[in-house]
């Protein structure tokens, strides 16, 4: 199994205000799958994503990628883990405001020994002509494309997407989802995507529904719909 999540528990606060956000999550994801995590606010999906991404730690249980357990890792090892395996896409893009578009992508490329060609990637993303602009000169969709470029330029094993279309309009959202699907297909990256949008589950290989820190449904989608055909 490529990604294994075993009995992951996480709580916040102490004493009476203690709140258990993840109550023992077990999940397995195959390499190259698109896995969509669905659930209402407070269901624990973003917390789970952050634990997979090594930017938060589980109170109990472990995450394992290709047999490497994050629970055993110290700060430095976690950094190496993120560097080697992960690409991150956020709802807020989190581009570095004082770097231009090309440089933002190069920030991702720097982390890899064999990154993708930055100019080719920018052309693929439709950003080549904007490469000298700063992030705040671009639309939300273009910024998110840049964030995707930065995430995939190092050809990561897993692409973690936290509400990647949460801040975008309908058309741009579909373009971004199409792009994520293309990246998955072209580079074979495993995609874990957190979303509120129920319609997105149709493009996934695996759909996991969380509620109150517990997985309610974990289904394999046999009949995937192309991202371009999604409707909501």
């Amino acid at each position: 199994m490529f990604l294994e999540i075993k009995n992951v528990k996480k709580s916040f606060g102490e004493g009476e205000s203690r709140q258990e956000v993840l109550k023992g999550i077990d999940l397995e994801v195959n390499k190259g799958e698109i896995c969509v995590l669905l659930g209402p606010s407070g269901s624990g999906k973003s917390t789970l994503l952050n634990i997979i991404g090594g930017i938060d730690t589980a109170d109990e249980g472990y995450i394992s990628i290709n047999g490497e357990k994050t629970a055993d890792m110290n700060e430095k090892a976690l950094t190496r883990y993120r560097r080697r395996h992960l690409g991150y896409i956020f709802q807020q893009y989190n581009l570095i405001p004082n770097l231009n578009i090309k440089e933002n992508v190069e920030v991702g490329a720097y982390l890899s020994d064999s990154p993708l060609d930055v100019d080719d990637l920018l052309k693929t993303l439709g950003l080549y002509e904007h490469r000298h602009k700063l992030p705040n000169q671009l639309s939300g969709g273009q910024q998110q494309r840049t964030a995707i470029g930065r995430a995939i330029v190092k050809n990561p094993d897993i692409l973690l997407c936290d509400e990647p279309t949460g801040a975008l309009d309908y058309k741009t959202s579909k373009d971004i989802l199409k792009l994520i699907a293309e990246v998955n297909e072209k580079y074979g990256s495993t995609v874990i995507m957190v979303t509120h949008n129920d319609a997105i589950k149709l493009m996934a290989d695996r759909v996991v529904k969380l509620r109150d820190g517990v997985i309610r449904h974990n289904t394999v989608n046999e009949q995937k719909t192309a991202a371009a055909d999604l409707e909501w």
Binding site: S46, N50, G53, I55, D56, K76, T79, R80, Y81, R82, R83, R84, L86, Y88, F90, Q91, Q92, N94, I96, P97, N98, L99, N100, K102, E103, E106, V107, G108, A109, Y110, L111, H132, K133, L134, N136, Q137, R150, D162
Partner: protein, 750 residues
Amino acid sequence: MRDPIAKRIPREIKSDIGKQLVIFLFFVLIISAASGYFIAGDSLINSYNESFEKYNVEDGNFELFEKADDAAVKDIEKDGGITLYENFYKQEDTKGFESKLRIFGERDEINRVCLLSGDMPSADDEIAIDRLYAKNHDLKKGSRIKLDGKQLTVSGMVAFSDYSTLYENASDLMFDNDKFGVGVMTDDGFENLRDSHLHYVYSWKYDKKPADDAKAKEASEQLVKDISKHAVLTDFIPAYTNQAIRFAGDDMTDDMAGMQAFIYITIVILAFITAITTDNTMIEESGVIGTLRASGYTRGELLRHYLAVPLITLTAAAIVGNVIGYTVMEKYMAMAYLGSYSLTSYEVRFNPDALIKTTIVPFAIMFVINLVTIWNKLRFSPLNFLRRDLSRRKKKKSFRLNTKMPIMTRFRLRIIFQNLPNYITIIAGSFLANFILMFGMIFKPMLLSFQDTISDNMLCSYIYIMKAPAETSSDSAEKGYLTNLETTYEQYKHEQVSIYGIEKDSRYVNIPHDGSGVYLSTAYRDKYDLDEGGSITLKEKFTDKEYTFKISGFYDYPATIAVFMDAETFEETFDEDSRLQIYLSNKELTDIDDKLIASRISETDLTKTSRQLMRSMSSIMNVFMVFGIIMFVIVVYLLAKIIIERNARSISMTKILGYTEREISGLYVHSTTFVAVLSIICTIPLANKILETVFKKIFMDYSGYFAYIVPVSTLIATCIIGIVSYLAVSLLLNAKVRRVDLAEALKNVE
């Protein structure tokens, strides 16, 4: 209803207590030092100014070759419109410690003496001596000193109103309160001392005081002529040129202006730091500001809110600083002056001007700089704030950087350009701090270096200046001539130039004897930027007779402003009356009658400037060094911290992407390292050049020459101290970067 957002202010201060405390303490440090300085300086200057009337300080003095008879005195008084007072003194070398003591009889009419402790002399074997001179030689009431073979008892400590600065001679570059002192005895006690070193000095007071220095100059020029008609003048010192009377007052006044400029520059830099801090806070809180503005809060209300913290910090610091200034610092600051000058007693007085300079003006500077910054930010619309869209340059493309440069280099450059105002303030702040540090650092090595240069380039160990021709059997002695002339530069004060006539085949001064021209000391050349082949015009001190000499070359003699010529030319140029016989010698001459020796110049005399400066300035230089380091650390830390805080989200994101701590520090701290280290390295030669110019300018107003020689090792040491200070800052900055939470990037932007 009270403005509800005002409730945030104490919480805001509390939440960032570290930074606020640093700024507060730095303000306190500056304000208390400045306040203490202004209060002490003002009180001392006030008492100094009052001393002229209180102690009836002379309008000038002159020395005659012999005592003037009553008729001559009356004629001089009548011609000059002055009243004369005998102010004779006898000068003796002390036994037991090396110094000269100038002794006066009772001074009831002119230049009265201020008793500071103990008693005035009442017996013939008692003497009251200058407080500072006594301190330097550990003399107290009851101490015994031996003068002219007589044991005298110190009865008390005094300040001479006409020797507030202990200059032995008007032509001295620097005072020397270690090797030279003044004392007062009873008239009978004074009479009992031998007359061989008696000086016939007369002080005068104008019957109608000249309105200003220009008028005093005119009057004194006329007076020289009037006196010369009736007696042989050997020295003439109007009060306005008398360093012993004027130097302390001028120095304290100049220092006050320097301190004023210093405090204002420092406050401007701190004001920029607080403005940048507030600007950063406003960017962080842009969503809140947008919401408040959209809800109806006016720009003025928000302006007042964001102005409050820096102004409250300054006001609190000003109150604490002024209290410390009046209660503690005043004493330390006064001690700095009382350690150099022999001032009469003074009283601390409330100084509204100090309050204006240390509180009102800094408050105005802070207010204006912060007001402009905050108002400029508040000009954005509520929507701009809600969208965090607070850049006026957004429509422009980013400037290009060569893509052949590694991405990390470009990243660092972008950080520098993004935070340009911070870095400019860092450069300005570190320049000022390094300038102060360097000022403190160079002083001692510079003086030692100058001292060594003088010692290495002495003409000989002793120069004896004779009152009348005398012979010696010493094989070390070599005869020569000396006369003193004055420079004639319009733009500078006229100063004494020693003209030496050198015997052929001299063992001590090797100059050609071809009569082609004169050789100037290197001190003369360097002070007035003179070139070989040029000429100099000098004049006699008490007449208008001028001499022009061709400069044939320069002689390596950094100690004094001197001209060397062969003895034959000297004899042709100067008549016998103006020639003084001298002996150059490497050994002391013991077989010449003391009465025939006018003075003896040794290494001690030539190096007294540097020794005095070292004695009076060393402790204050250490303060400069420490202050420079503190200022550098604070400026760099506060501004670099803002850069990290402003980029917290990007730092967090790079962490998430998998950048290591080292790589992230490499981006966000090394950019600051680059700027800070570069500014240290650039500051040092620049500060060195500026200090050289400043020193040269300062010493143009003094007689003699002081070479600005800073060893390279001192410049390197200054650089190292700056870099080590920065390393301490960078440790804090690295810790700050490490503390940036990974979750920072996950926060939803408001």
